[in-house]
């Protein structure tokens, strides 16, 4: 009993000691609330860690579909930075006067078909998704990747699969694929990469594919505009660009 207490004290002391030992420019500053598209989940977590290491600045993330985030920011959510998966949703926020300055495109992405590793319906192209008996998941049309996917279907002159489940964001589409509940889903290439061997990616040819452009901006109601600007600058810094490229994003 006694020994355990001593151990706990020791652990606490070490932890606090370590915290104090890290040289930090703004250790007392509150973390920067960053609202980012679901497809940025992994890469922005890495970005946050890199920023913490480089400048001792902490971030908190809220990942969801860009369209959901716009709604939340417009309803007064506490956000300092917004990174969207398309310029349409960012445009809505600019129009409603929530953005400070002009948004800048910091990353590019492309679409890919994700199928379970054993590819039960032998999907090789978008046309296969419209075949009867193939269960498909797409993001809802209000979600950027859902809109991009519908553009790709239109370019390939393929009807949008009937009976497709309209998921709330790209990660929900990916989950339905990794669980094997659907035969195919349309996601970003970076999502397929992040999922590792849990899904198989089927390329969509360039003439049918869509280039997703990711804008980022500081928000008008950011409590600490300087810190928010620091995050945005870091994303387009050489270190930030390395993190993005490492996750498979294209660079503008």
């Amino acid at each position: 009993m006694h020994r355990r207490h001593v151990l706990a004290l020791l652990v606490a002391a070490t932890t606090f000691g370590m915290g104090g030992a890290i040289p930090s420019a703004r250790a007392e500053g509150a973390p920067i609330p960053v609202f980012a598209a679901a497809s940025l989940t992994e890469v922005f977590r890495a970005m946050g860690d890199a920023l913490q290491r480089a400048q001792g600045v902490a971030t908190t993330f809220n990942f969801a579909s860009s369209s959901t985030l716009v709604q939340q920011i417009q309803q007064g959510a506490d956000a300092a930075v917004f990174a969207a998966a398309d310029e349409t949703t960012m445009g809505a926020l600019v129009k409603s006067g929530h953005v400070a300055g002009a948004p800048a495109v910091f990353a590019l992405n492309r679409l890919m078909i994700a199928v379970p590793p054993d590819n039960p319906q032998h999907v090789v192209s978008l046309e296969d998704l419209a075949k009867p008996g193939v269960q498909v998941a797409l993001a809802a049309p209000s979600v950027p990747v859902g809109r991009y996917a519908r553009e790709a279907f239109a370019k390939a002159k393929v009807a949008v699969p009937t009976g497709a489940s309209e998921e709330l964001d790209v990660k929900a589409v990916l989950t339905k694929v990794t669980l094997g509940e659907v035969d195919a889903g349309v996601v970003y290439t970076t999502d397929v990469r992040a999922a590792g061997n849990r899904v198989l990616g089927i390329a969509i040819p360039d003439e049918h594919n869509v280039i997703a452009r990711y804008p980022i901006a500081v928000l008008r109601d950011a409590k600490d505009a300087k810190a928010a600007r620091a995050f945005v600058d870091f994303v387009s810094s050489p270190t930030g660009r390395d993190v993005l490229a490492g996750a498979g994003f294209g660079l503008p």
Binding site: S67, T68, V70, Q71, S142, S165, E166, E167, G180, E181
Partner: protein, 265 residues
């Protein structure tokens, strides 16, 4: 006759807190009604997608309620009346969905009844029935989260029934089935109805388990709560109208039932 004069010694603090409590619940509804664009209401409700979502919501929640009663009544009775090892554990586990985040319930349902789920795989192979992305899947998800409300309500009522009445019926020669039908169930009738209404209300508002397990296929698995959530992103006014519609449907049923049958609610 009981005089209904001013009740003596009302703790004033209690009344104040009660008013705050009532306001806390009512204010969001008032705000919703206040901000709803009523001129768009009719055109919004009569769009084919909304009509389909409303129909689907009503049909699936009613089916889930029936299923909750058919399976939940025996479960509540067994848990209330029979002594067996592990009863406490069973009671805890069968009410788990009440406190579980619905999305977690949806994931668990996928792992059990999904296409690659333990039972789902077998179900698909033997009968060709697939639950995810079907109306049946919606009913399963809603029943999973709603049934425990029925079981909890009925079980506590069964425990408070005076068992001497059942003993008396038995001693007069009634079969166990007759005792259940003619004595026990009439005694717990208010709880039976209250539990069914609670389960129905929970099923009607179900979101997390439904979208996780049954997906969001317009016309097939897109219930009203799912439609509201998605409408919020594209046309917030539409979402408000749909929300008012849900409130109205729920309120109508609750008030109607409360007046007629459910004294216990």
């Amino acid at each position: 006759m009981i005089a209904r004069g001013p009740s003596p010694a009302v703790p004033r603090l209690l009344v104040v807190l009660a008013l705050v409590g009532a306001a806390f619940v009512l204010l969001p509804f008032l705000a919703l009604v206040w901000r709803t664009p009523w001129d768009q209401a009719w055109s919004e409700i009569t769009t084919p997608e909304v009509a389909a979502a409303l129909r689907l919501s009503l049909a699936c929640s009613l089916a889930a309620t029936v299923l909750s009663v058919v399976l939940g009544l025996p479960l509540a009775w067994v848990q209330a009346r029979l002594e067996f090892p592990g009863r406490a554990l069973l009671r805890g586990l069968t009410t788990l969905p009440v406190i579980l985040p619905p999305v977690v319930g949806g994931v668990a349902l996928l792992l059990a009844f999904g296409r690659r789920g333990v039972l789902g795989q077998w179900l698909d192979a033997t009968t060709g029935v697939r639950l995810p992305f079907t109306g049946l899947g919606v009913v399963v998800a809603e029943t999973f989260v709603a049934m425990p409300f029925f079981v909890l309500t009925l079980e506590s009522a069964l425990r408070s029934v005076d068992t001497r009445l059942e003993d008396a019926a038995r001693s007069l020669g009634a079969s166990p089935w007759t005792v259940l039908r003619r004595v026990t169930l009439p005694l717990v009738r208010p709880a039976l109805l209250a539990g069914a209404v609670l389960a129905w209300a929970r099923a009607l508002g179900e979101f997390g388990a439904t979208i996780t397990f049954a997906g969001n296929v317009p016309g097939k698995t897109q219930t009203l709560p799912l439609a509201v959530y998605l409408a919020l992103e594209t046309r917030p006014e539409g979402a408000m109208v749909l929300s008012v519609l849900m409130v109205a449907v729920s309120l109508a049923v609750l008030i109607g039932l409360r007046r007629q049958w459910v004294r216990a609610l």
